[in-house]
Assembly symmetry: C2
Homo-oligomer: 492 residues x 2
């Protein structure tokens, strides 16, 4: 049973799967397209969730929980939303199994337990939530509602990939209700910035903030804002979206409020979400052929300590030194593990923790420790240095910050080097084929042209960046006039 | 729209529903038997979850996440478990909706998108988890596995009640795997004690620890341990269960391991869970006719401050004093809200926060505050006292502890007063009808007698208490010999 990671250059896609499976983030399951998030992967998600949850609360949001199921009649109320998700939703039709009369020990669906109305397993919760908000909102005094939910959702995707695209995934979905369009747009943009802040400062992944073109908009949104990240193969990954929903859901569910002057109007809405897909982005953006490289701020383990010794006496001496360092690290809030299991050699442990992307490894060797020396290895650059036990914890604290920053810088340099401006169709196709990355190019602004470009190149408009410089130009495909460049890329 | 709570004496069941709805813990939803957990209720659940999660981690467990769906063939593998849950499970049969050709704008289930194998929405996760553990366990070195999962589950109950019995509910389920029976039993009991610790010390609710009789055992368990709490109407509520599963699931999913001597054996299992049902217990055990009474340690808000003033000048003076107290309370980690909304009178606010069960209310009145005096009202006893601003925070800190302790003591006194020993069938029925509560009585140990008692009295054996004194006696129904008393009660 090989524990080796396939090299990126050999098979990029297999490299990604190996990172997940052999890094023990997740495992396949018996359910088509669904995965098991293993303890190490879930620890990562917990750290991400906790940071995000605090950010949401700091911006005035509270958590709540809405039902998993959406009755079909509610699901279809907002037409575009329904159309967008109808083709990929799991549907509960029965509420009971019974013994199979022909096969003892086997069960069959009880035909007598058919639901009067089918239930859709939520692919997103706008419908069930706005149907609820209807009862909560009468007057402007009931607004705004700033609610977030951490939940599982199901989208029956035909082609699935661990973390990036699974039938069931975990996410958070914010659903806010406002008295004015202005306030709702402000909320939409605010949450986009929260996402960008999180992804850049915790996941060490630079993003481009922008607005989606009409073709790429969330089903039911007036405007979809997004953050786009670049993976190591140059492809784009949408890392989070924040939707200005206008009054679409308020109209579909008849949610009106009276303002101070007793005038009635429909409520304005936003929704925004990020999911376990972010783990896929994290893995694909930072890792190397040895395994995962996790940013210190969210890594489940920040420091691992491996002892090298012969015999119980040396072990006891190391244990004592390690205990002191571990206590000091923990007091600083640093997540540390002492890997003193006796069933593997140090070299095997080194490889194992490299695979798992632990930012810092300390080696306590019996020979060096008598001189007060330990070895520090950083995962991001593979650099090693000897360091005195004295002052060690301070150095590690600083090193974790350096690694965090270095990972961001490296990803940003790569990203910036791989955004290219092109001004013709030939150049566009050539760049896409030969260099991948993002392409900044003029587009005539029509959905038809965008669709045609997608057909011809498999690249889509990832976003129209916020604060995009305005310049005169010609659409790379049609030659029609254009006022700004947009970002194209192939994407996950 | 009345905001009043129905009195317990008038309609106990309506009182309970009023507490939930008017205390804003939850709301009904458009989905049969499913509820919406509102922000205030979810805040309570978050506090409970965070304490429990820390307890689980402190006892060596880690979190993970397993799929929502269980393929039917896995679901039926452990026969008793399948039989126990088959009658109440939501079944996904299709993965797509399509436009209804006869009704524009409506959707129907696409008959062409029928799943080859139906998926059961997990009512509990033993099946999917043990099917996964099979791949993770080869040798004793892979054991123990100590995993917990926070998740939603679905049980299609015919009669539902907010929190106590809902089709979908939130819970945690621990699933552990062990090399020996001894270790698994130890784990089962350890987690029972963790639950008892949590319910008693955080929810202020005394519990009786015990073992279920065979009739009341979890489907698929060898032994079910439980904690039982008494509600204000004397009925029992099962507050948590911890199951010793023996090798049942290991055998159903063929999960074997090799020990140090290379002998193969099936793995030993436990599972244990508590759910949002605990909120129902909390509400029903402590509340009064004015509303909820929440224990300080898990209350979403511990202190609410209401100002009484006329005019902006008085308001500004109060704001300043409040700001200092709020800052000091927050620095102590106390959850506090300053309710200075201008759309309600103080009396209305008092009633509102009483309904929501906030443990301590402070009133900052303009007249008293000039003398440095505020009023402290405690929710549990309704007592009020004036207090100097000086030393206020220290008093509140102590008061919160007193309230926590007082709530527990009150519930314990009530519980202890309502456990009665009876020695005959007539006495049993009379006690049940006239006094409710728990009844300690002899039972001949047979499932048949237990079933008969249930039929005749609607009371069940809640548990055989741990460390139960052994004494000779006669079964209250059959007169057959018995060696110990067991606890009977009607239950939720």
């Amino acid at each position: 049973m090989s524990k080796e990671i396939t090299a990126r250059a050999v098979d990029y896609s297999q490299w990604y799967n190996d990172l997940i499976i052999k890094g023990e983030l997740a495992d396949y399951s018996a359910v088509r397209g669904c995965m098991v998030i293993k303890p190490y992967g879930f620890g990562l998600w917990e750290n991400m969730r906790d940071v995000l949850d605090k950010m949401f609360k700091d911006t005035g949001h509270v958590n709540a929980y809405f039902p998993l199921f959406v009755p079909k009649s509610l699901f279809e109320a907002e037409e575009k939303n329904a159309e967008g998700f109808a083709k990929e939703c799991a549907v509960v039709t029965h509420y009971r199994l019974k013994n199979d009369p022909d096969n003892p020990g086997k069960l069959i669906v009880d035909p007598e337990a058919k639901l009067e109305e089918e239930l859709v397993v939520r692919p997103t919760s706008e419908a069930i939530i706005w149907n609820t908000y209807k009862n909560w909102i009468q007057s402007y005094r009931d607004l705004p509602i700033l609610i977030n939910q951490w939940a599982n959702v199901v989208r029956w995707e035909m082609r699935t990939r661990l973390f990036l695209r699974t039938a069931e995934f975990l996410w958070q979905e914010g659903h806010t209700a406002h008295a004015t369009q202005e306030e709702a747009v402000e909320e939409t943009v605010k949450m986009l910035h929260v996402y960008a802040d999180f992804v850049e400062n915790y996941m060490a992944l630079p993003v481009i903030k922008g607005v989606k073109s009409a073709n790429e908009r969330f089903a039911g949104a007036v405007d979809t804002y997004c953050i786009e990240a670049m993976m190591q193969d140059g492809k784009a990954l949408q890392a989070g979206t924040s939707h200005f929903l206008g009054q679409n859901f308020a109209k579909a569910f008849d949610v009106r409020f009276s303002d101070k002057d007793n005038n009635y109007d429909y409520v304005w809405a936003t929704s925004w979400g990020v999911s376990t897909r972010l783990i896929g982005a994290l893995v694909m953006a930072h890792s190397d052929d040895e395994g995962l490289i996790l940013p210190p701020r969210i890594a489940p383990l920040q420091v691992v300590i491996v002892p090298i010794y012969k015999g119980e006496e040396q072990k006891a001496m190391i244990d004592e030194k390690v205990a002191a360092v571990v206590a000091e690290l923990k007091a600083k809030g640093i997540r540390v593990k002492y890997d003193d299991t006796d069933n593997a050699r140090p070299g095997w442990k080194f490889a194992e923790w490299e695979k798992k992307g632990v930012p810092v490894r300390l080696t306590f060797g019996a020979r060096d420790i008598v001189n007060g020396i330990v070895e520090i290895a950083r995962r991001d650059t593979s650099e090693k240095q000897n360091h005195n036990l004295e002052g060690l914890v301070g150095t590690i604290e600083q090193l974790l910050e350096d690694i965090q920053q270095n990972m961001f810088n490296k990803a940003k340099t790569f990203r910036d080097e791989n955004i290219r401006s092109v001004d013709s169709w030939d150049e566009f196709m050539k760049t896409l084929e030969e260099q991948s990355g993002f392409i900044s190019a003029h587009w005539d602004g029509t959905p038809e042209t965008e669709e045609k470009i997608k057909e011809l190149s498999k690249a889509t408009i990832r976003c129209i960046p916020l604060d995009n410089p305005q310049e005169e130009g010609k659409c790379i495909l049609t030659g029609n006039p254009s006022k700004e460049r947009v970002l194209f890329a192939r994407s996950y």
